[in-house]
């Protein structure tokens, strides 16, 4: 039996090209559907310091909370459901749990509670669920997805009591939990927070000034004069501080900037990390559009948003897994005339992005 050593797991890259002014553009919907965002990276060419309105926007991302050792049945607490979940826009994700090893929990803004469990835990929990669509021959992973706004999940209802009993006595799950609420911050979460050890966190902003940066030319030209993989590789090299000034005969690395290229005298790389909400990212995109409306030396800005690797859900609440990387991110390259190129990337254990 011969083994195909050339085979690699499936990955998808979806490239959209359109304009913010086009009636069919779905950029808002695409951004809103990725509920759990970990990192936002911004690359501003020919820029030495963050413009004031962008800086203010970046430093005003919603704060989030870390609750330590939260019993998961507390997410079914009647008061928490009424003050937060039923109002919409609660984002919750288990922290430091690995999607391929541990039990992961996500609470989505539409009131869906999603648990990703191994087989034994799923059988002990005793609640209706489905085998993961990504486990083929041996069903080792199961997903329980519950709509907390459904009539059967009203406190006291049959489905509600079954899940509550399962999480309280049969499978008493406890996990560190990240929680955020939009709008309104933590006021509606206070009752839950007050019962456990919690801390409030502000997304961490870091800025890095770059000099003499090789950059592909005409990034926003139509049609694009580069292929998306080369562009994403160059952007990854900039984000990781990897030099692109290598000759093809260099022993260590032959990574080079895609041609044709130009030299930027300076550029600014800004990143924000934490539990970031899609609403904040949409406001950031609007601010960047206003920034590009002003006369600029360079006519583009690149924004990259990374989803959580260990979230049980990705775009649109669809199942997400991590075979080798768990990547689910998108890069938005915005031009000065309201045009954009959007690249959405998912890995082997993801469905096609929206």
């Amino acid at each position: 039996m011969s083994v195909d050593l050339d085979h690699t797991p499936r990955c998808l890259l979806v490239s959209d090209r359109s304009s913010f002014l086009h009636e069919k553009n779905r950029i808002n919907s695409q951004v809103e559907q990725l509920n759990f965002n970990y990192k936002v990276s911004l690359l501003l060419p020919e820029c030495g310091s963050t413009p004031s309105h962008l800086d203010s926007m970046l430093n005003n991302f919603s704060t989030f909370y870390l609750i330590r050792k939260l019993p998961i049945y507390e997410l079914l607490d009647k008061r928490f459901l009424e003050t937060a979940v039923y109002q919409g826009c609660v984002y919750g994700l288990s922290y430091r749990t690995r999607i391929d090893e541990d039990i992961c929990v996500a609470l989505m803004p539409n009131g869906h509670l999603c648990l990703s469990l191994d087989k034994d835990s799923f059988q002990v929990l005793g609640v209706e669920g489905k085998a993961s669509r990504f486990s083929h021959r041996t069903k080792s992973r199961y997903v329980v997805s519950v709509d907390m706004t459904e009539s059967s999940m009203v406190p006291g209802g049959r489905g509600y009591l079954r899940l509550l009993t399962g999480l309280k006595s049969r499978l008493p799950l406890k996990s560190d939990f990240l929680l955020s609420h939009h709008p309104g911050g933590g006021a509606s979460l206070q009752a839950l927070l007050s019962r456990y050890d919690w801390s409030e966190h502000k997304p961490e902003v870091s800025t890095h000034a770059l000099t003499c940066l090789s950059c592909p030319t005409q990034l926003t030209s139509i049609p694009p004069n580069f292929d998306p993989h080369s562009f994403l590789e160059w952007l990854g090299a900039v984000d990781a501080d990897i030099s692109c000034e290598n000759s093809s005969c260099s022993f260590l690395s032959s990574l080079a900037c895609p041609e044709p290229k130009t030299m930027l005298s300076q550029a600014l790389r800004v990143s924000v990390c934490g539990l970031l909400l899609p609403q904040d990212i949409l406001r950031l995109i609007q601010e960047i559009r206003c920034y590009l409306d002003q006369p600029q030396l360079q006519s583009w800005v690149a924004l990259t948003v990374h989803g959580f690797v260990d979230s049980p859900v990705s775009w649109g609440g669809r199942e997400h897994g991590a075979l080798r990387g768990g990547e689910n991110f998108y890069t938005l390259l915005m031009g000065e005339d309201h045009t954009y190129h959007l690249h959405l990337v998912t890995g082997a254990h993801d469905t096609c992005p929206p």
Partner: protein
């Protein structure tokens, strides 16, 4: 310069879906040595990986082209780039590399992705303590 009466093209919407089209894969690896104070340069690291490829896949395997994109000598962590068709060979060589200069060692593969950007946005690095 276009004529004044020529209208601008109306914005278009175009979508292209590429499946398994990434020419490269990227790995974030860390070398763990028995003697933790041992240090290697980037060139020594690359030569060490080439010897691993040679011992498992012979001369043809050792000719597999890969790049050491970034290397941190303090933590012995490196970003590697390899053609997608060579990923399995490179990864298996790293797995089976067990000794460096008569001391036990192991490569820890921290992350693998067909996109270099994914290696810079790994949420498992989020530290809130």
């Amino acid at each position: 310069m276009k004529p004044a009466d020529q209208k601008d093209e109306s914005p278009v919407y175009q979508r292209v879906v590429l499946k398994n089209a990434s020419p490269y894969h990227y790995m974030k690896v860390c070398l763990v040595l028995e003697n933790e104070s041992t240090r290697l340069s980037a060139v020594e690291l690359k030569q060490f990986i080439i010897t691993g490829l040679k011992s498992l896949y012979g001369e043809v395997g050792a000719a597999l082209n890969f790049d050491v994109l970034k290397y941190d000598a303090d933590t012995l962590t490196a970003f590697l780039r390899v053609y997608s068709r060579g990923l399995v060979k490179l990864w298996s060589s790293l797995t089976l590399l067990g000794s460096y200069q008569n001391q036990a060692c192991a490569f820890r593969v921290l992350q693998v992705s067909p996109f270099l950007l994914a290696l810079t946005g790994n949420s498992r690095e989020l530290q809130l303590d």
